[in-house]
Symmetry: C3
Subunit: 137 residues, 3 copies
C-alpha cells in the first residue's frame, strides 16, 4: 500500500472565488504512482471548501449567489464580537462540507464526464493551504 501527501497553496485576488483545480489534483495523483485508491482533498482552513461540479461560468455564478442567499454576509453574527467579520464564510464552507474524496482508477481520477474539482474560497486575499492525501496501491 502507498500513501502520498502534497499541499496546494492559494492566494485569491478576490475575497470569494471558485478556482478550478482538477489539473493540479490530477498531477498529484500521477506523482503518487497510485493506480487504484482514494484521493482526499481538503482546505486546512475553516472558511474555504472543496467541491465537485460543473466547470461552467454561469453555474459557478449561480452557486455563489445561492451560497450568499443561504449563508449571507451580515454584521450581526455573534462570531463578529471577537473582531472577526467572516462568519458567513464559515457557514458557506459548512454548506459545501469543506472536504471531498475522489476515486482513483488506473492511475487517474475516476470522474464522470462533467465532474470537475473546485477550491471554493470565501475569505481570500491571503495564503491558504489545501491538503491532498492519497491512499492506494
Amino acid at each position: 500500500m502507498k500513501t502520498f501527501t502534497d499541499y496546494l497553496w492559494f492566494n485569491t485576488a478576490r475575497e470569494r472565488e471558485m478556482v478550478h483545480i482538477t489539473p493540479q489534483v490530477e498531477a498529484i495523483v500521477k506523482a503518487s504512482g497510485v493506480e487504484d485508491g482514494l484521493c482526499f482533498v481538503s482546505p486546512m482552513h475553516i472558511t474555504a471548501a472543496i467541491y465537485v461540479n460543473d466547470h461552467e461560468g454561469g453555474l459557478i455564478e449561480d452557486i455563489g449567489e445561492w451560497l450568499e442567499k443561504l449563508a449571507p454576509a451580515r454584521p450581526e453574527y455573534r462570531h463578529h464580537q471577537t473582531g472577526e467579520d467572516n462568519a458567513d464564510a464559515h457557514l458557506k464552507a459548512l454548506l459545501l462540507h469543506h472536504e471531498t474524496t475522489l476515486p482513483i482508477t488506473k492511475g487517474r481520477l475516476d470522474l464522470g464526464t462533467w465532474q470537475r474539482v473546485f477550491y471554493a474560497e470565501f475569505d481570500g486575499r491571503r495564503r491558504k493551504r489545501v491538503i491532498v492525501k492519497i491512499l492506494g496501491v
Copy 2:
C-alpha cells in the same frame, strides 16, 4: 491491502427520485472480500448525490420538499443561458454533498440501526452511473 471497484447504474422513471441502495452496496462489499476498511460511494454526475438517512417514506418526502425550498427550480439561473434547465439539480446535489464514505467492519457495512444509503436523483430519466470503491484488508 485490497481495493475493489464496481459501478451501479440508474435510470429513474421520475426526474427526482430517492432510491434506496443499501442492499446493492452491501453486495459489492461482500464481493470485495474486504473485512475491514472504507467504502466510497459517489455519482459520476453533478446532478445526483449519495446520502445516508432514514428509510421512511414521510421523511423522504420531507427531504425532497426541503431541498426544493432551499434550492428551488426556477428559470432565472445563469446556467440556463447555456440551454440547460437543471441548475437547481446541481445545487441540490451540492447541498447533499454528492458523495459519501461508509465504514466496513467484519465484512459488512458498519452502520447504525437506522442508517440507510440512498441515491438521490435530481435530473433523472437518463442512464447514470455511481462508483463504489472499497479500500481495506
Copy 3:
C-alpha cells in the same frame, strides 16, 4: 497497511449540542499507531453529524441559529405522522453531511491552525455512538 476502529459514545444533556471532540479523535489516532493515512468519523445515527470548524463560542451559536433557520423545527413534517417529532434533526444532519474524513500525517491529525472536530447533536438526551475508522501505514 493497518486498520483501526474505535467508537465514541455521547449522551448530551441538551437536545441540541455541539461537542468538541478533537482530543478524543487524536487519542484514537495515537492508539492506532497509524503514521500516515485517513481517519473517518461518523455518527451511527441519522440525527447527528460530525463537522470541522472553529472552536469559538459565538460562531458555534451562529451555526446553531443558521441550521435552525435553514432546517427549522416545526410540527408539519410528514415524518411526524409516524409519531416522531425530530424531522428537523434529520435535515440538520444532512445539511452538515453527517460524516467527515480527516488526514493523518506523522502520526497526528494533519489539520490547519483553526480546524477542530465537532460532534453535532440534534436529537440528544440519549446514548449515541460515533464510529472512528482509521486506514493507513
